[in-house]
Symmetry: C2
Subunit: 196 residues, 2 copies
DNA sequence: CATCTTATGTAGCATTGCTAGATTTACTAA
DNA sequence: TTAGTAAATCTAGCAATGCTACATAAGATG
């Protein structure tokens, strides 16, 4: 059997189709999740949306969990990019302020996406080598922030991340009133901005 | 129909039985959750554990959600008490440090309980009048901390809570390595301790 | 004892995640 | 073109879940 040109093009087209369908699934999952919550993202519902039978979804991602995980990875990738942008185009002097604003904006504009990013059960820390690169990338944006500041940049970065995550999560789940959000962020920025 | 003494005693016994069974259900739910995760806390499993049929559970709490909510309330009550204790018996000078340690100790020693406390979907902020008293009580322990400090005690308290919650959550879900936990807490305490 | 109320159980529905096996479609080679 | 093979896709179904209508048993009351 010889690999003709046609064979190659066919294989490529198949790959494209596959990736397109994969993207369709993830897109549908995100849309439903944002509009109706993750509990309404069922495999049957997704298979309806993309007009394929259920087993097709299981061929792409091994399980429902797998679909959520893929969405979560997308989320980390996008968040990493958003943070990178915020870090590079610093507006009014303070990088910490810019990053904090970008982080919380991301969380508030895609609550379901943010939710799944952190409900994804991980077995490995953010800064570990065995961690998906998208997560490492996002975290590295925060690490960068405190580089050279004090003795332990990782500790400060983690603390900053934790504070942002806490604010995001307690806001998303309605524990915090939106009314004081600006003041909260101002206080946060003040705490994490050091002279020098 | 007259209410005899016997009638009263019978009614009281029934009430006791009911409360005992309620406690049994919640206790079983907590045990299973801590050992096997909340997904293994099914209504059938619980009804097996207490040797009653499913409808009995639905008579007590209207739904599975209702059972989790009741556990979450218990959790807030217990956390409030733990924080109160930590605030009153301040060991080495620093109240902030004592509270932070108590909070994280609570979260780490009952991860499933902590998890359900914050996955419970609320519609009302912590400091609202319409919030279950157990939640208000727990939050009030943190409010107390920064009373008189600066201009906005609520803002500082919320920020402190957010930081603690972020650390707890990112630790519980394995995002943070345990190894740096002590340093993280030290840095946190330093940030939130003000001269005076 | 008879009756009525309350407590409890039985059995079943609809929905879910997931999968084995049939079936159709797409490609290959004579 | 066509028979045969491999890949893609679907049909149908299982077991488990949350929940509930209805039947039955237990308990209290006259």
């Amino acid at each position: 059997m010889v690999k003709t040109l046609a064979t190659n093009r066919i294989a490529e087209r198949k790959l494209r189709d596959k990736q397109a369908r994969r993207a369709q699934i993830l897109s549908a999952a995100r849309r439903i999740a944002e509009l109706e919550g993750w509990s309404n993202v069922t495999v049957r519902r997704l298979s309806d949306e993309i007009s394929y039978s259920q087993p097709v979804l299981y061929a792409h991602f091994g399980s429902r969990e797998g679909i959520l995980a893929a969405v979560a990875i997308e989320g980390f990738q996008e968040m990493g990019l958003a943070l990178e942008k915020a870090r590079k185009r610093v507006k009014r002097g303070n990088t910490v302020e810019s990053i904090a604003a970008a982080y919380l904006e991301f969380a508030v504009s895609s609550p379901a996406l943010y939710e799944v990013m952190f409900s994804l059960s991980l077995s490995v820390p953010f800064d570990d080598a065995a961690t998906p690169p998208e997560l490492r990338f996002a975290f590295s944006q925060l690490l960068e922030l405190f580089q050279g500041q004090g003795s332990k940049p990782e500790v400060l970065s983690e603390l900053f991340w934790a504070s942002l995550h806490g604010i995001a999560e307690l806001t998303r789940t309605k524990r915090f009133p939106r009314s004081r959000q600006k003041e909260r962020v101002r206080a946060l920025v003040e705490l994490f901005t050091f002279p020098g």
